[in-house]
Symmetry: C2
Subunit: 307 residues, 2 copies
């Protein structure tokens, strides 16, 4: 089934201990779409400027991502620069140029209206809500947010959370959103705000999903998937969005949405995140095969499962 993803398309300038990349294609919408494209049909809604060329679009098209929802505006594409020094979990921002992204008003093409899965990338909560409300056939909505909106648009975010089925954020964001320092307690509180499930991303330690009791045919027991201990993380940019792409892509590829499928999806999320960080930018996500993905899924299983 098809996923509609709303998010950013950006050009990133990245420095890590492994090297430097200048103005490479990035953004939450890009990473999400590429990762999800190995599992199901993906439609992307985003905005770009004149500097986004046919060649850039080809990166997405080659992965059969439907790009008809990418709006082309006059001006420059969103640009971000950052560096990861000692701590690969934490980027220091060098610059943020919103450019055409500043006035982004997602417009859903008519051909996208029958989308059954929706991913709301990390944009203003009011835009997230508007997109969700425009789509009546959506079976499941996944969403991301960040500290900036948790602190800067708390009321709007509350509205969005009522429309999101599975929220995907990191440890710090979950604790900030719930105003709780204990993660399980924070999770329980977030689950009273709307979502049926909360995925907490732990960076190099994987992710935990917390469920509201009775949702997706199960109780309230959490489930944890690992991340792969990777020798050389070249560039952590996009790991979280690639995780979300693998997670939602796998769910959308299945007939049903139940606990077992969601658990496997959490593993596939980790798998796609682990590929993303092996190269700068989207390089690794552009040229995978489903066999490579499933082989790594097995590695994740062996990493965690008793005989």
């Amino acid at each position: 089934m098809s996923i509609l993803a709303v998010g950013s398309v950006a050009f990133d300038t990245i420095t890590t201990p492994s090297g430097h990349a200048e103005s490479v294609l990035g953004g939450s919408g890009t990473y999400f779409s590429l990762a999800a494209s190995y599992f199901t049909e993906v439609r992307l809604v985003a905005v770009v400027g004149d500097d986004f060329t046919a060649e850039h679009e080809q990166v997405l098209k080659k992965r059969k991502v439907d790009t008809r929802g990418i709006e082309h505006e006059k001006g420059k594409t969103f640009r971000w620069g950052g560096r990861y020094l000692d701590n690969l979990n934490d980027a220091k921002t060098d610059f943020t140029e919103l450019n055409v992204f500043e006035k982004f008003q997602p417009r859903i093409p008519a051909e996208y209206k029958d989308s059954e899965f929706l991913f709301l990338g990390n944009i203003h909560p009011t835009l997230q809500s508007a997109v969700r409300l425009e789509l009546s056939d959506v079976k499941l909505t996944g969403g991301d947010t960040m500290n900036f909106w948790i602190q800067g648009a708390p009321e709007e975010l509350r509205e969005t959370l009522r429309l999101v089925n599975i929220l995907m954020i990191n440890d710090g964001e979950a604790k900030m959103l719930a105003k709780e320092s204990s993660l399980p307690r924070a999770a329980r509180k977030v689950l009273t705000m709307g979502p049926n499930a909360l995925v907490v991303k732990h960076g190099e330690y994987g992710a935990t999903i917390f469920f509201r009791d009775g949702t997706f045919g199960g109780g309230s027991h959490p489930f944890r998937a690992p991340a792969l201990p990777i020798e050389e993380v070249k560039d952590p940019t996009g790991a979280g969005d690639s995780f979300a792409g693998g997670f939602m892509g796998y769910i959308a590829s299945q007939e049903d949405v139940n606990r077992e499928i969601i658990k496997r999806a959490l593993f596939y999320g980790g798998v796609m995140g682990s590929f993303a960080v092996e190269r700068f930018g989207t390089e690794r996500l552009e040229n995978l095969t489903r066999d490579e993905i499933d082989a790594r899924f097995q590695v994740f299983r062996e990493l965690t499962h008793l005989g």
Copy 2:
């Protein structure tokens, strides 16, 4: 089979967001012994002062820990005070009074000499080496260390590492020991220093074991066990030593030492660590049952295993 544990017995004064405890029984030897006592016979070598009463000793004896190796010296027992504020993974030390522990020279009672498993708690590496060399029947040695020795006694620690089969340290210690910022690379380097396996403890995210290729009947694939997301961590003190006690205790309770047993042991380590933090000091570890332990082992399995 029996484990000989060498470590500290201490009185801890602890402040956490959940409360305060004054001069409660603690120390690496105490936590390790109590945790391991649910799996196998434990013999403790440590030193205490006049303030260590028969009542304190009874805590260990009730769990059938052999306390004949505890030396009683004139003076006060080792005392430590610390507080966990925002970050439950990281204690701020208020005071350290080594007292009788300062001149600790482990003496192995004759009745302990046939011990088949050995745990070298976090003491000076030279003392660790001396204990190991005194025991000729030992099949497997586990060891702990810390930043203080990695920086302060690197040569002595190198010697100890040649005598340790499974080293158990945390992320920061592994990276410091190997002078490597990537954990898998750090692990590989540590494994060239002597140990056949390295357990890296990740606090609330569990632990990963890295193996030297060909050891314990397997390849070099790592294995990861979770920690339980606990609503209220009352007191993290002793979690790592309780982990080590569960880990080594389970191994010592088995006929053989192979990969599958070591993987299960990693889960049991997490289980004992998760119990330890539920109450202040050793309270929770004093009154467990094997049924409670095995039930939590199942929870850990369900937390991580796909159907």
